[in-house]
Each structure stands twice: as structure tokens, then as C-alpha cells.
């Protein structure tokens, strides 16, 4: 009998250490704590401790998911970890995590290297595995520690990004109507240099030159080993591709914008989400901004937003959502999700 994939449960996990706007304002003379909140919509971010990895954060999220009781660890027959800060160059962090979590050894496991679009891509892979009968319970872990890539004196990214993880269980269901999909994807590698850690891979290995600090026109300090974001290019890309993705998804699904209860977009920062909201002509109460206490957690922003919406009772009755992730790659993806 044909099965469809659905999300059974979500759990988020954040490192305990907090980086507040007050701490940041003390480092950046031009910006007050209020200005940071006003511009970014972020009051604080959680930051991994030295030695605390994305794998550790993913472990915490999965343990919380199992503790919630809807999914047992023995149900899991496939683990997907989306991260850009793996524990090792090799082996695959998902393999290590599957063992640490006590997942069955007859389960599959793989890593996906994507950023802000990663959760939606992960859902598409999980749906594919389940609806082809290859798996029945996929544990999709999203976890990142961008803080480890950020120079302390680069306010362009340090104000925005927070570390965090989420665990999402996608399971087989007998419901003939698919709860997840359709999907729309997009990739534009010509914009790779706009959001990048240039050094540390094999294209530009770490050496003396990659450790040289430079100061940009906005007084931000970084080296080639740190995260660089060209905010103007990323904003232009987002304003170009997210509306197109929304339009394609509506065409592909035959749905109207009015039939979508919530547009859950990658929680990049408040000014970007508000610019998108205006451009998409979506009222504020249908485009949640759930990042005030966590910042931009990369591939975990959408599941953390879903968890927060569920906590606030917004998903108490069945809802039709549009999810859109967009960012580093450049990469983007959208899908519909019925809760």
C-alpha cells in the first residue's frame, strides 16, 4: 500500500551560553543594544561553548525529541544531519551521531552540507525515502555552530547568527493525501562568494596568509578563515528568488496565497523578513518572526519557528504552511506542509 510522509514531531535544542545585545554593544561603539534589536529583531543568541559541536547540539535535540515520546529511537531507520560545521572532516558526523544516539545499526545515515535552505531540502529527501518505501522513520537533524566561524569584531554577522539545532521526525502515514510537498528548488553557484568561509577547505587551505586580519569599510574585522557575508548581494538575491519560489509553489500546487495559513520563511533577520513580507503582500500575522531569543540559526530556523508556533498554539488545528529556506550556496527551496 502506498504511504505518504508526514512530520510526527519536532524538538529544538540550544547551547546554554548566551550572547546578548549588551555584550555586543560593548564591542561595537557605533551600535547600541537597542539599535541591534531594532535592526535585527534579535535580543540574544545562544553560542556553543568551546568543544561543544554541532554534533553535540544535534544529539541534544534528538534526545529531547525521544523524551517527548512520540518517536522511539528504535523506530528510526534513517538519520540525515544537515550541518556546515561537522565534527570531523571525516567520518560523516551522522554516522557518529547514530551511534551516540543508540540508533539501530541497520539504519542509514548521511550528512547534508547546506545552510539556510537545508531544512526544506532535508524534508524533500525524507519524503523521497519514505514514499519510495526505503525508510519508515527519518530523523532529520539540523545543527550549526556558525559562531565558530565568526570573527568577534565582525558585527555584520555576529549580531545575526546564533548556534542551535532541531530534530524533526518524518514518518510513513497511510493518509493518501501527502502532508509534505510539492517542492520547488533553486541553486545559483555564481553567488557562492557572497556568503562564504573562504579558507580551510582544499581550495584555500589554512596558512599564514589566511590568518591575516582585514578591516572593511564598515569597520568589521575578519580573516579568510572567518564567515564573510555580502549583505547587499544576499538581500538582492532574497528579494529576487523568494517571491519567485512562492509563485512557483502556488502554481505547482494549485493553491492560492489566501489558502496558506502561515508563511514560515527562513528566519534570517527582521529587516529581511519585513522586506519580504511587503513584497509578498502577506499580512504580519501570517508571516511569523520567531528569532528574538535565538537569532539566525541557519538550517534550524524553520523547525525552531515551527516548534515555537506549536508552543504558542498556532498549530493546534490543522494548518497549511508554506516553508521557504534561502541562503548560502546560493541555494533555496520551498514546500507546502500540512500539519
Amino acid at each position: 500500500m502506498a504511504v505518504t510522509a508526514k512530520i510526527a514531531d519536532i524538538a529544538g535544542h540550544l547551547p546554554s551560553q548566551i550572547l546578548s545585545n549588551e555584550q555586543l554593544a560593548a564591542l561595537y561603539p557605533a551600535w547600541s543594544a537597542e539599535k541591534i534589536l531594532d535592526k535585527t529583531g534579535i535580543r540574544q543568541r545562544h553560542v556553543a561553548a568551546p568543544g561543544e559541536t554541532a554534533g553535540d547540539l544535534a544529539l541534544g535535540a534528538a534526545q529531547k525529541l525521544f523524551a517527548q515520546g512520540r518517536i522511539a529511537r528504535d523506530d528510526v531507520d534513517f538519520v540525515i544531519l544537515c550541518t556546515q560545521a561537522p565534527d570531523y572532516i571525516l567520518p560523516t558526523t551522522a554516522c557518529v551521531l547514530a551511534h551516540r544516539l543508540g540508533i539501530r545499526v541497520d539504519a542509514g545515515a548521511l550528512d547534508v552540507n547546506l545552510g539556510c535552505s537545508g531544512f526544506v531540502y532535508g524534508l524533500s529527501l525524507a519524503k523521497g525515502l519514505i514514499e519510495t518505501g526505503a525508510a519508515r522513520c527519518v530523523l532529520l537533524l539540523t545543527a550549526d555552530t556558525y559562531s565558530k566561524y565568526i570573527h568577534p569584531l565582525d558585527k555584520s554577522v555576529r549580531t545575526l547568527f546564533g548556534d542551535g539545532a532541531a530534530a524533526t521526525a518524518i514518518v510513513a502515514s497511510d493518509d493518501p493525501t501527502p502532508a509534505i510537498g510539492p517542492f520547488v528548488f533553486g541553486t545559483d553557484g555564481s553567488g557562492a562568494q557572497h556568503l562564504i568561509v573562504p579558507a580551510g577547505g582544499f581550495r584555500q587551505p589554512h596558512d599564514e596568509s589566511s590568518a591575516v586580519e582585514t578591516r572593511d569599510d564598515s569597520d568589521n574585522v575578519r580573516t579568510a578563515e572567518h564567515l564573510y557575508m555580502n549583505g547587499a548581494e544576499v538581500m538582492a538575491f532574497t528579494l529576487r528568488e523568494v517571491p519567485r519560489t512562492m509563485k512557483s509553489l502556488l502554481e505547482k500546487s494549485g493553491a492560492t496565497a489566501d489558502s496558506i495559513d502561515f508563511f514560515v520563511l527562513h528566519q534570517a533577520n527582521r529587516f529581511m523578513l519585513e522586506a519580504l513580507r511587503k513584497k509578498l503582500h502577506v499580512p504580519a500575522d501570517r508571516l511569523p518572526i520567531c528569532m528574538q531569543d535565538v537569532g539566525n540559526t541557519v538550517s534550524s530556523t524553520i523547525p525552531l519557528a515551527l516548534e515555537s508556533m506549536r508552543r504558542d498554539g498556532l498549530l493546534a488545528s490543522p494548518k497549511r504552511l508554506m516553508l521557504i529556506g534561502f541562503g548560502v550556496g546560493l541555494s533555496w527551496a520551498g514546500c507546502l506542509l500540512t500539519t
Binding site: 535592526k39 572593511d216 569599510d217 547587499a232 538582492a236
Partner: protein
């Protein structure tokens, strides 16, 4: 240009009545930094449906320079 000036005043953190084409960011000690540039890209897209280039914006010294970029972009769109 009114809503554009209001938006720009908010971005530059100055009173909207002080803005004119000759308003110079350096003279007013206004922060024309990467965040202001990103916000201006969103504002111009919302107000005039044009996409401005970040590098060209970074080179702007006064409001008239931004307006010239917007005019050029509108001609390209037309």
C-alpha cells in the same frame, strides 16, 4: 519620493525634514554602513520596484547619488 525619504530617514537615523538631495552622509555624521546599504536596497525595491547594486550604493556620498541610481534603474526597467 515622500515614503522613500521617510524610509531613508529611518535608515540614516535622522529627521525626515532634514533630508534633501544635497544631504551628505559624511557631513551629517550619518552611518552609511553595510546595514544602511542593505536596508536601502530593500527600501528602493519596495518604493520603486528597482534593484540597486550594493557596490554602487556604497560609493554614494549624498542622497542625490542614491536618487540617480534609482532613476538609472527605473530607465533600465522601462
Amino acid at each position: 519620493m515622500n515614503t522613500f525619504y521617510e524610509g531613508l530617514a529611518e535608515i540614516l537615523e535622522v529627521d525626515a525634514s532634514k533630508l534633501s538631495p544635497e544631504f551628505s552622509f559624511a557631513d551629517a555624521n550619518a552611518d552609511w554602513d553595510s546595514l544602511a546599504i542593505v536596508s536601502t536596497i530593500a527600501l528602493a525595491d519596495d518604493s520603486f520596484n528597482v534593484m540597486l547594486d550594493g557596490k554602487a550604493l556604497a560609493a554614494c556620498e549624498k542622497v542625490a547619488d542614491i536618487e540617480a541610481l534609482i532613476d538609472a534603474a527605473r530607465h533600465r526597467n522601462a
